[in-house]
């Protein structure tokens, strides 16, 4: 089963400590070596992003920055056997932030990617 983990957060105004970046790289390498991390990347701040939306039948395009305080920071795609396992990897990832970057707050949303198993057994 695949899980997409989307990290959003609020920067405390200090740059991320180098030891946090190091720990994140190590955890990523560990999850890759364990064969469960399929893909991951950081995301640019939303100041440089754009939004294409449909509302009331009207299509519009807006350039960032947007009003939300929280920024998308990164995503990771895991292939694991249960949601609990994806949560465990995400917990380790978030713990790195808690231990190494005072003042940072954020959240990791663990979302299941629909797979063949979600379409039910054939009739």
């Amino acid at each position: 089963m695949r899980y997409l983990v989307l990290l959003t957060g609020t920067q405390p105004g200090t740059p991320p400590p180098p030891e946090l970046m190091e720990a994140i790289m190590n955890l990523g390498a560990e999850a890759t070596a364990a064969g469960v991390l399929l893909d991951t990347a950081g995301l640019m701040p939303r100041a440089g992003s754009a939004r294409v939306q449909v509302a009331g039948g009207q299509l519009s395009v807006t350039d960032g920055p947007f009003a939300e305080a929280k920024e998308f920071i990164s995503y990771a795609l895991y292939q694991v056997r249960s949601q609990a396992e994806a949560v465990e990897w995400s917990t380790r990832f978030m713990q790195l932030h808690a231990d190494r970057w005072p003042g940072w707050s954020g959240q990791a949303d663990v979302v299941k990617v629909m797979g063949p198993e979600d379409f039910g057994p054939p009739a």
Partner: protein, 433 residues
């Protein structure tokens, strides 16, 4: 126990058990004992976490507990030996425990990658029967319970447990050391490891339908093991070749069964449902295999063939000439009737049905494939494409009689019926998915 706690324990177990077992196996020198100690640590977690709560560092907790259990086991063994030798020179127990504890700490801290690699090679040791190698690998490297292994292989839990016990007994009886093979034996042993991984993959891949999630899960387990191995043995082309083959085959999972669970042949699959991420990963792994400038083997060749299909956005874009030439090489390094059959299909697509029939006839004349259902299906298809619908229908009937797979039978019977109905023209349907 709450479901959440149980799931959390299982998740940590899944992530940590292989490393735990591998570290303990090096310390104790005994894979069977290591596996039991790790299991005991899991049981302790299942007993204690529900009331005490999940520890802040669950992985570290499991390691510490397993280590304590190892010290106990070690101490018991030493006490036992001393009694046997009737040596009275007693050491205070806690000193001994400290000493062993430090040794175990050092051992567990180091060489985690090496330990895992040793675990892979020991679990797939050629001294074991194929089914024992598979069961031990699933148990020690994938963290599957005997019950799950039983469900995956459609055998009872007792049978699955017996396979693991037999495997451990064989390893002990033959004094198989927990170590990497020497360079001379490396190629053979690696082949055994790759075989086990591919057997696990195929067990999941050829399962007829998703009625039990355990069987499709075997594909994911095999893929994961392949990726782990590729990270540890990056200079062996066949490891990347096997990973490439599994990634590309797995990319078709959603498209290879129809609404009623019947198999959908490669040419008929909705390629929009193919998993592009897995294809991309598979093509990248294939490129790594080919870029090592070492001789490639059957897995890389099969991956190269699978890649030809993966690259074709429409069935009619398939580079059949390249596939046919890859089958010539494959038949050379890995001769088998099934390879010849597939080559007949490829040649039939590249050079026309008459050329394909010639390859098929040659294989059948060698006494191979006589009652192999797919051989009749392929002949039926080649005959249909050369306009001989009557004979083609007979061969599809024969294929339907011979196959033991209900889904396949349905497909063959339908083809036979279509061919018997003169107004329906047959399309090109090579076998395999």
């Amino acid at each position: 126990m709450s479901t959440a706690t149980r799931e959390a324990v299982e998740a940590v177990w899944r992530i940590e058990s292989a490393r735990l077992i591998a570290g303990l196996a090096r310390v104790t020198g005994d894979l069977g004992l290591a596996e039991e100690l790790a299991q005991d640590a899991l049981v302790t977690a299942l007993e204690q976490w529900p009331s005490g709560g999940i520890p802040a560092n669950p992985a570290g907790w499991l390691m510490t507990t397993a280590k304590r259990l190892a010290i106990d086991a070690h101490r018991r063994r030493i006490v036992y030996q001393r009694k046997l030798e009737t040596i009275g020179r007693a050491q205070p127990g806690h000193d001994l425990a400290d000493e062993i504890g430090r040794a175990i700490d050092d051992a567990l801290d180091d060489h985690i990658g090496d330990d895992l690699l040793r675990l892979i090679f020991t679990a797939a040791h050629p001294a074991l029967s194929t089914e024992s190698r598979v069961a031990l690998t699933l148990r020690c490297l994938c963290g599957l319970s005997t019950q799950e292994i039983g469900r995956a292989y459609l055998v009872s839990t007792a049978t699955a447990a017996a396979r693991i016990v037999r495997a451990k007994r064989t390893l002990a009886a033959q004094s198989v050391r927990f170590e990497l093979p020497d360079p001379a034996a490396m190629a053979d042993r690696l082949a055994s490891v790759l075989e086990v991984i591919y057997l696990i993959f195929n067990e999941g891949y050829s399962a007829s339908s998703g009625d039990d999630w355990m069987r499709p899960a075997l594909c994911e387990e095999a893929l994961r093991l392949g990726r782990v191995l590729a990270g540890m043995v990056p200079d062996e082309p066949e490891v990347h070749g096997l990973v490439a083959l599994m990634e590309i085959q797995a990319s078709r999972t959603a498209a290879r069964t129809g609404r009623e669970g019947e198999p959908v042949l490669l040419a008929d699959q909705d390629r929009r449902a193919w998993d592009r991420l897995l294809i991309r990963r598979g093509l990248a792994a294939l490129q790594r295999a080919e870029s090592l400038s070492k001789p490639i083997g059957p897995y890389t060749l099969q991956a190269a063939i699978a890649a030809c299909h993966a690259r074709a956005t429409r069935a009619q874009d398939t580079d059949w000439a390249r596939i046919a030439s890859l089958y010539v090489v494959l038949a050379h390094v890995w001769p088998s009737p099934v390879v010849e059959l597939n080559r007949a299909v490829a040649v039939g697509m590249a050079d026309g049905p008459a050329a394909g029939l010639a390859v098929l006839d040659a294989a059948v004349n060698r006494g191979e494939l006589g009652d192999y259902p797919l051989a009749h299906a392929v002949r039926g298809d080649l005959l249909a494409r050369s306009g001989n619908h009557g004979e083609a229908a007979q061969h599809f009937h024969r294929a339907a009689e011979l196959t033991r797979n209900a889904g396949e039978r349905k497909v063959f019977t339908r083809r036979a019926a279509e061919l018997a109905a003169p107004e329906v023209s047959a399309g090109c349907r090579p076998p395999g998915s």
